[in-house]
Every structure is written in C-alpha cells, then in structure tokens.
Symmetry: C2
Subunit: 753 residues, 2 copies
Amino acid sequence: MSTVSLFAAGLTHLRANLRSLLVAALVCVSLQLLAPPSHADEGMWMPAQLSQIAGQLTKAGLKLPTATLQDLKKGPLAAVINLNGCTASFVSADGLIVTNHHCAVGAIQRNSTASANLLEAGFTAKKRTDERWAGPGSRVLITLKETEVTGQFRAALKGVKDDLAAFEKVDGLKKQLIKTCEADGQSRCRVATYDGGARYVLVHQLDLRDVRLVHAPPRAIGVYGGDIDNWMWPRHTGDWALFRAYVGKDGRPADHANTNVPFRPKKWLTVSAQGVKAGSYVMVAGYPGRTYRYRLPLELKDAEAVSYPRTIKILADLVTILETQQKASASARVKLTSLRAGLANYLKYSRGLLDGFRKSQATAAETKRYAALKGWIAQDAIRRATYERPLQRLEARLTEMQGRRRRAEVLRWMLRLPVLVRTAATLDWLATEREKPDEKRDRGYQKRDWARLQGRLEQRARTYVKAADQEMMVYLLRQANGLPGSARIAVVDALLKKFGAKGSKTEAGISRAVAHLYSKQTLAKDKTRKKLFAAGRKKFKSRDPMLKFVMALQPLRRKIDEQHKRDAGFLAAHRPAYLAALRDRFGEMYPDANSTLRVTFGNVKGYSPRESIQYTPQTSLAGVLEKHTGKAPFDVPPSAREAIRRTHAKIRQGRATSPWIDKGLGSVGVNFLSTCDTTGGNSGSPTLDAQGRLVGLLFDGNYEAMASDWVFDRVKTRSIHVDIRYLLWALHEVLGGQHLLNEMGHGTPKRSL
Amino acid sequence: MSTVSLFAAGLTHLRANLRSLLVAALVCVSLQLLAPPSHADEGMWMPAQLSQIAGQLTKAGLKLPTATLQDLKKGPLAAVINLNGCTASFVSADGLIVTNHHCAVGAIQRNSTASANLLEAGFTAKKRTDERWAGPGSRVLITLKETEVTGQFRAALKGVKDDLAAFEKVDGLKKQLIKTCEADGQSRCRVATYDGGARYVLVHQLDLRDVRLVHAPPRAIGVYGGDIDNWMWPRHTGDWALFRAYVGKDGRPADHANTNVPFRPKKWLTVSAQGVKAGSYVMVAGYPGRTYRYRLPLELKDAEAVSYPRTIKILADLVTILETQQKASASARVKLTSLRAGLANYLKYSRGLLDGFRKSQATAAETKRYAALKGWIAQDAIRRATYERPLQRLEARLTEMQGRRRRAEVLRWMLRLPVLVRTAATLDWLATEREKPDEKRDRGYQKRDWARLQGRLEQRARTYVKAADQEMMVYLLRQANGLPGSARIAVVDALLKKFGAKGSKTEAGISRAVAHLYSKQTLAKDKTRKKLFAAGRKKFKSRDPMLKFVMALQPLRRKIDEQHKRDAGFLAAHRPAYLAALRDRFGEMYPDANSTLRVTFGNVKGYSPRESIQYTPQTSLAGVLEKHTGKAPFDVPPSAREAIRRTHAKIRQGRATSPWIDKGLGSVGVNFLSTCDTTGGNSGSPTLDAQGRLVGLLFDGNYEAMASDWVFDRVKTRSIHVDIRYLLWALHEVLGGQHLLNEMGHGTPKRSL
C-alpha cells in the first residue's frame, strides 16, 4: 500500500491497510538496525542501489547482468506492478496479471452473491468477455520512472524553523511535483520519503483503471489451511489469482467500459516450470509497505510494552464481535468475511510480532547499541556538533508524543471501522477540503483522488451489516468512555450524557446512543452518499444523527490532524540525523520499506522453528492430501484429490512427462521457503530465479519472523512462496484453465499427465 | 494394570483404568497383525521368548547375554515392578523406586490439601521419616516367577461345550491356581491369558503393601507442557517421581505402619549418566496393558466406525462437565484433577487413535489380508478342517455381540463414573458375592481382594464432589434415556417416570431424579461404607435412594455379567483358532500385551510427522527455556530457570564437568524418542541401555502412533522417554535431592556444575 492509500484505501485492502493503521497509531514506535546489512538475505534494495551490491548478487547466484535487473523499462522489474496495495506482475503480452488470492478477495467478493459464492467455488473466465470487473476502486500502477528530488526539498526547508511550516513546505512541494507529473492525465505520481526524510524520490506510475478478474481458485485451494495455517509452515496454499488490465481502444488508461481492450504491457515475465530446490537462488521484486528497522530504543520499548499489547486487545475483541455477527445470516457471512479475515490476520500477526519481539530481546540489545553509538558520537567534536542536539530533541519529542496519543488512537479506531462512521467521516472531511484550493487539500482528498475515493465508498457500502456496525460502535464508545480525564472526547461525553450513560447505567446508555446514531442510516443509501460527496461545506446538511455526530467531531479531528502534521514536520527534520549518524558509523544501508519498488534476494532454505524440529523448504501435492480432513479449511475438492492421485500414480508408473513435476519431490511443488526479506505489500510479488524468470509468488512470512519488520533475524526469518508449478498443474488438471496456460506460454504437454 | 485391577482399580489409576474401561466396552473390537513381526522395533516380547530372538537383540546392539536379560531372579528384569498399574523399578538397595510423575498423581493428591498443594509445589523428603504414605490402595508387585500352565486349562476344557460352563471351568481353575500360589500370605498371583486363550501363564508376584512417596517435582517440571504437550514432540517434561517400598521388620510384606523398614530388593538397576544419542540401542522393560494387534476385520471396522466415535463423544462431554465443576472452588479443583486429567488424556488418546486408524487405512488392508488368509486355509484339507468352522463361528459371535452391547455400555459408564454410584455398585455387588464360597466369588471380590477394595473405596471417597457427581449422573441418565426400546433399562425408566421425566419435561425430571438420588449421601460417610462393606446380603439395607436405585439394578447387572461370561467362554475357546492360523501361516509371533512383564527394544530415533517436518530425537534444557512463557503449563520455576542459565554459562565457559552434561547437545538431555513398542501400563518403565543400565523412563507415545495398540506403523511410531540425566541434574541443581543422588550411586560431582 502506498502513502496515499493510507488515507484512502478501501476495506478490500484491509490487510495492507490495517498495517498502515497501526503504523499511524504507532507513529512513535520503532527499532534500529542491529547490525550493518552485511548479509545477503537481509535488505529490501532500491533498484538504483543494485549496482552497488552487484558483487553480492553475483556471489549469491544471480545470472542476469545487474544493469538488466535495474532497468525499469526493459528488465523484469518493468513487469512488476502495484495492484490495490499488493504486488502483482504481468505474465502475458495481453496484460494477464498474476497475484495472490488474498489480494483478490475484494474483487471476488464483489462478484459474489450468497447463491453464487465465488470465494467458495472459485472462478475461471472461459473467454475474455467472461472476465469480471474488479470494481471502481481497483487500480494497476506500473512504475515508469523514479527521480531523486531530495535537493529540492533541502532547498525548500532551508531556514524553516516551525514544525507546521516545515510540514506545509514538504507537503506543498510534494503536491506540486505530483501535479506536474500527473499533468498527462494518465499517470499516478507520488513523492516517496526514505528514512523519515533523508531522501525524496518522485515515483511516476501509469494508472490503469479497468481491472478484471480472470481466475481465482476455489477457497479450498486458494485459502487451504485458512486461519490455522496462516503464517505457518509447512504450508499448502494455492494463494494465486489472475487478473487482466484493460485500456481504451487508444491504448490509454480509461474508466471501465465494455469497449475497452486488453492492455499490452512493454514487458511481461517468463513463467518458468524449471522450479526450485533447496539452495536455489531466488529474488522477490515488489512493493513492501513499511519496516521499522532504524528506530530508537525508546520507540522499541513502547512498541513492546504498550502499543502492541493494546492493539492486540482491541483486535481480539473486534474479531470476536464479527465472528458472532457472521453467524446471523449467509449474507452477513459474505459481507463481513473480508473485514473479519483482515482483522484476524492482523491479530495473529501482532501477536506473533510481540512474541518475536520479546524472544529477540531486541529492546535490550538496541538500548546497548544506541548507547555505544552515542559514545562514538561523543568521541569526536564534529560528530558531537552534527548529531548530539538533533538526537536529544528527537528523543524528547518522541517521548512527548507517546504521552499524548491515546485520544487520537481511540478516535482513529472509531472513525475507521464501522462502515457508516467511516463513510460519514470521509464525506465530512471531504466537504471541508473541497472549500480549499486543490493544492492545499489534504493528500487523499484532492481532485485526483475523488474517483478512487468514491469507488471505495461504494465498495465499502456493499459490506455494510447494520448489527455488526452497531456492535463495533458499542465497543468503541466503551473504549472512548474509558479514556482518562485529560484525553476525553467532549462530543462523545455529550452523546453519552444525553442517553443517560452514567455509572451503573453506562451499558444501557451506550446501547441507546448507538441505536440513536443508527436510527436513520441514510448513509447506507447510494443517493445520499452521492449527494454528500458532491456537496461543499455549505450544502453539507443532514438530519441523520450519525452524520451530525461525526460533523461535531471535526474540530477535534482537525486539531489532532494539525498536531500530527507538526509532529511529521519535526520528525522529517530530525529523524534523518539519526540515520545519518548510523550511515556515518556503518556505511551505506538499504532504506526502510516505504511502498516503493524493491528487490530482495536469497536462497530456498528451511529452518528450525524450535529445538528438535527441522523444517525442509518445499511442500508438494502429497502434503496437500496428507492435511485433508474433509472439513474446512482442510477440504481438498474431490476433483483435486482425484487429480493428485492420478498424477502420483503416473509418477509411480514412470509415465509422468509433464514439465511441472519435480523429480526430487516425486510430486508437484506446492509452496516453498526462502531467506528473502519481505513484508506486507509484497503479497503477490513475483519470485524470480537467477535468470529473472517467474518461479513463484510471495504470499506470506513465517510465524517466527513476525517481528522482522522491526528486527531481522537471519536464522529464523523466511518468506513463504507459492511454487508456480502448482498453479500450472492446477490450471491444467483441475481448474479448466488450459487456455490461460497457453497464454502464459505453456501449451498442452505433448502427452497428458 | 492387571486383569484384576480392571475390576478394582481406584480413580488414582484412571489413565490405565480408563483404557481398560474401553477395552471392556469394546470387547468386540480389534485389529490383526498386518505383517509377521519381522522388524526389530515392533514387539512386546515375553522374557521366555527372548532366547528365540537372541540374534535380533545382538544385531540391534544388546551387549548383555540374553540369558541374563531373561533371568527374573538376577537380571535387570528382577528390578522391574508393577506400581498401581504403572511400571516402576528399584534403583537402590534400600528399595528406592523410580516411576513417572503421572503415575504418582494419586499419591501426591492424597498428601495434598488446598493450602499445601504438593501437585503444584512438588515434594522432596529430606529424611526417611518424612516420606509420605501413598495410601491403602498403593501396591508394589514384584514378579518372582512365571509358570506355563496351558496344559491344565486344555485338560479342564476338554469336552466342555456350553459357553458359560467353559467360562466357569477357566475361572475356577484360575482361582484354584491363584489360591495355591498365594497360600504363603505375601504373594499376589494371577493367571495371565495370552492371545485370547491360546496360552495361560501363572504369574507369581510379591505384594508390598506399604508404599511411600519420596520425591515429586513441582507441576511446572513434572507436568511441563500439560495437556498441550501431552502425546506431543518435541517434549520437555520431567515426568518422574520417587517412591520407597516398606516391609515389616521381619522383611515380609506388611500393612502400613511406622515401625516398618525399607524393603531390600534382590536386584536394583544401575542409574547411568552415560546418556543416549541418535542411534543408541535402548530397551524398555515393563507391564504393557493391552494391545489388539490380532483382531478380525469386522472388529476393526466397528472400532473405527462405531465404538471410538461414540466413546469420544461421551468423553468430550464429561470433560466439559468436570472443567466447569473445577472452577467452583479450590477444593473441587484438587479433588477432580485426577479424574478430569484422566478423562482428558483418554479423550486425546481416543481422538488420536481414531485419526491414526483412519489415516492408516488399516481396516481396508486388513480386510484384504484376512481374505487372503482364508484363501490360504481353503487350499488345504487339513487347514480347512482345523480353521474354517471356528473362524466362521467367531465372526458370527462377534457380530452378534456388537448388536447387543449398547445397554451394557451405558450402564457401565453410569456405574463407574459418579463416585457415589460407583461406591454403591461396588458395595452392593460385594454383598451378594459374600454369600458365595470364596472360590466361587467373582474375581476382584474374593477375600484376597477385600483390603485393596476397601482402600480404594476410601481413596475414591476423598475425590467426591457432590455437584460434579450429580452433573455426571444427569448426563448419564440422559444417555440411558436415549437408548432404543429393546435396550432400555427398566429401573431407570421407572425412576424417570416417577419424577415426571417425559417428553418436553425430560430435563426437569432428570434433575429431580438426580436430586432425589443424592438427597441422603450416606455413602459419603466412612461409617456407612464400612458398615455396608462388612454386611452380607441380608444385612445390606439402607434408606438411601442411591443405594436402593443401584440395588434395583443388580438383576440386570447379573444378567449382563452372565452374558459377558458366556461371551468370554466362547471367545476363549474360539479366538485361539485364529491366532493358530496366523502362526501356522507366519511362524512365531509375540503375543498381544496383557499386563505381564515384557521387553521391547529399538533405537533412539527421530521421525517425520508430516511433509516438510523432521523431528530430531533429543531435547535439552535449552528447549525447556525456549518454551517458557511464564504461564502454565509453560512456566519454568525461577530457581530452575536460574539453574539452567548457570549450567549453560558453565558449558559455554568450558567449566562444566558434571557427568550428566551431554556434549553433543551442549546442554543436559531432557527427553528422547525411541522406536520401542510400548503402550499404557508401560508408563514409568525403565529405559535400559545395551548393558541393561537405566538411562531413561518411558512416559508417553507420540500422537502419530496413537493407533499403535491396533496397528504398528514402523515409520511413525515412537516412544517418548525422560532422559534420566534430567532427573539427576534437577535433583542436584534445583530440587535439593543430593541425598537421593547419593543413594542412587551418584555422589556429589567433584567440582560443582
């Protein structure tokens, strides 16, 4: 997910999105590099940095010239795109796209009904006209160019002292650069910030607005193992989906229309059936979202002791609420699936992360290392003059921010989760922003964002379930009601007072207040939303209690927003000093992930999760059958079971000639592990071999490495990939996708499996 | 546990006992050998058989003469004893005994109170006078001699046609042999039946009645991992306890008395700190309870499709009931621990067994193999004449038995679980048996059994919790009320009718009926129990509704009992024919386990539980710390954590000189896996090395091998052992047991750890 989508992303992209939610909640949390990045496996490298590590790449096994790998026009990276916050890649001349199933859930859900549940049954378009529109919020972004613009920011900030002014300068310059870049009307641009403000890069992307679902496996393949196996090894998940990008007949980006034609990308990846084995060189190219590998000990301490435990509690409560609500009806089950799955996934992630955090004892190690860095600074007059004061100020500010964030956190949960509250909050904010000149509007609310914003509102409205929304709101009002005096929210207090929620009557009062807020539900109507979307501040009126409640909150939201901007301005000016000190001490490093295109490389390799257990790095069809119990999430469809048995019988008889059979495994590869360094946003990334050919899809990290966004543990951090041969086999043997295999250059094997 | 204890064992030995309960419930279920026992790992060999497999033993690594291993007087087997249904062994000249912690739970519980909970805190007697009596039901049985008596049974059965008469003949002869054998007043004898009646052996044991608890580790060591890790690998459980046997000053078995002195065994095991490593030869000597490796396909089919699923349902319901009841008070928690743990353990076992059963597809394989055996029989006139008719009759009878067992099963659960019902049932049955001449009394109710019977009643009374008893009874009456017309229990029907439990009023009626049954609770009083225990049939009177209810059930119980005897008589005459056919076809085989002394041998070896996971066969102190979360069941006591860190620090510094440190592991061994073939009853068995020295304690099997009682899978069946070095290390470093180490021949290491 990009910085932009942090404010505008729909529920569809909740996995990535929630990660951003936490990023925002934890704006003052982090972890510093434990050692200079000297190992092959650690590091999410910018394409421009690859030439600096060419030796490492070659040594690890890369067979491609580094210059080819770096080339955004003709190299394999040209085929690596951003699809709604996930990564994806082109695999045919006709714009066929491969990504993860879990990145396609929104699109699949959009095309499902209670009676025709594509999430459950899967989907394969037999011809182009059967391909299903992924919806107005779906976007393919192709990175065309990255331009370093740090100098312009340094110049603009020269002499600026006030934090808010600094923020406005940075923000204004970003908007100006973006506006120029997007002037052609078909581009999507952003200024990516590296290392908290040390470096700025203008990223120019082509923005395709008509994206269609081509294929998704049935749930029992695409989500095989479900929540139980999520983050786990050994894994047997067919986590893939196929899309196609469409453009106008003129070849330019266009809104969805039947007359559109498939996009013809400049570059697409070769899909290889050569496969991998233990030790194989692999690399992952994609758009990793956020890492926190260069943070201060005080941020680390806070994440471990305060922020994550608090987040975990809230997530666990919300998941329970949604699970109960999903039992009410088949329709509620479908509508709430994506939100519940996203929250549950993030809960498991947060728990694992906290667990890993504690086990790594990173806070203690980092505290020691930070003290050593400060000692090293103190040894030299120039270093003292350069770093001491900025570091002191940074520490003081971060501590202050931790002290005052509670109210903003509760408000953020409230304004983001219940569909009607979020809808009201978005529309209300937009109404105010509309009054400003476009370049002064908040990012995410500028004219360039309106179509996407509206698309997402529409998409979100489709997931609205009144009872679930209300239950979440009851829970979040209870949270607000638990805030200490200095952090209380006056508007919430007034609402609760009005409905008699005091002392022993709190619960009944909250229920009455929520019933009141949901008594009109006008925001559930398309017409109302459209009217309010178009309305400016003056015409923005309604008798809907929900809207009135959210409108009353706007002054506080503005106040908090301004404080965030001040903080951001301060951090942008001061955090780079810390990074500079680290570079000064350790030399060049890869920057933290920031949703820009990166490359990580490593090897196919197992690991030991704990004493007396050794994981080997590949799974196969045999393991799929081994896990089968007949009950979800371990229910292999009968046709797939039959196909596996057929395939294995032929292998045993020596009659299997298909290129996607792995002789070493005696079966077809399903998933594999690698030492690559990935995170959220990398989902769906192509896994490339030494020649740059597609051999897998990154789809998960392992449980033991959940703290890897903060602290990279070489021994236990692994990425989990779909073996692309599983997709090829399944399309051919089970899912009726031979025409798609043909399109990817894999014609019918001469003899059948 | 022995055949005798099947009828008389207390709740203390529930683990073994429930297994027998199921054995009884499944009297018509089983599985036949899938292949002749040609592999080293499979087989629970009778001492007398060892000379026949001497070559195999030597090849596997045994360094002891087979004759020494067979010798029940001077060999290591002379130190291997039966302790309350578990196995144990002498480890000092003063009668010190080592077994599992889970075999000591009853004794520990008996010596615990809510305020001094030894289960939680552990216990180490600092001197002999501190050792705590394990209670009146506790027995040490030392096997002195095994005598083949098959000829006498063949002679007695000659010409007997009637099933009940056959049973009576066998039963009468057994009692007569036992009576003669026990004439010295200090022996415990039994006639063990092999292969369902193919062979009879008179087992002569010395019976020690004063057993005392010497040491138990705290729960957080002895039950580390709790239910979560139970049956699992990797494992880190200190599942050991120490006892001591006492005798009168004359050296003869005596009732518990302060004047008693430690028993001096003829033989005790050498405790070795040499340890094991992958590949080491190990053997387990002990008293495995029951296996079903030679059963008919129709028995297998029934176990998989009917019996186990039914048992699992009932166990799961009962565990839930007890868990709820345990929350009521600290006292209920302690009193119900053993029963709940036993049922939960058996539930997990049954689920795993059923799972393994299904995965093994043993039923299909066995059906095929049985057909082949029948084909082989049909090829030859003599074989036809010998086997055909007995096999036909056996199949017909087993099928008939399956058809009529439901009522007996429900009645059995009811009369065994609630403490008051079980007490009433025992006393009522005894009152009738008392009227008979002693040799005609049922086994378990003869004069020789009275003291133990009374001890167990007393022990059981200590676990009585009214509310829990009632809840179980409500549940079991509901089961009885669900029986079909032909299987209904008239006495239960009358009770329910009386309290208006009909149609929609069933639940309220059952509650009223149970309240009625528990309205007097006279059986909770020691005085009443003692009076009724001594009363004959005529004096056996009471106004207690519970007793009246159970007395009314006696005619039905007698009827069912007689039918069981007829069935047993029939099976004893016909099952041997099947075993004989198998021997005829495959040659000599080890017999099914029957609680007699057996030896199994194999190697220390890991395994792969499923695709992409490899388990290595040893765990260490490092893994204990790795699992530590601070929350039960993963809460290493602070003193133990400190000791582990101290030990590891010394190892790292090269200063560790203690003999119990394993250089290969870089730590102290905690648990290990072997390929030995074991089952319930083997718990606490000494694990011996090639020289016959004690290197471990068998305490569990792995989850993947839960079906091994029925079908032995060489690839995945493993036994789990405590590494005896963990006990030595813990006694020295954590638990203040240096005096016990001294007694076991492990004086203080010259330099401390």
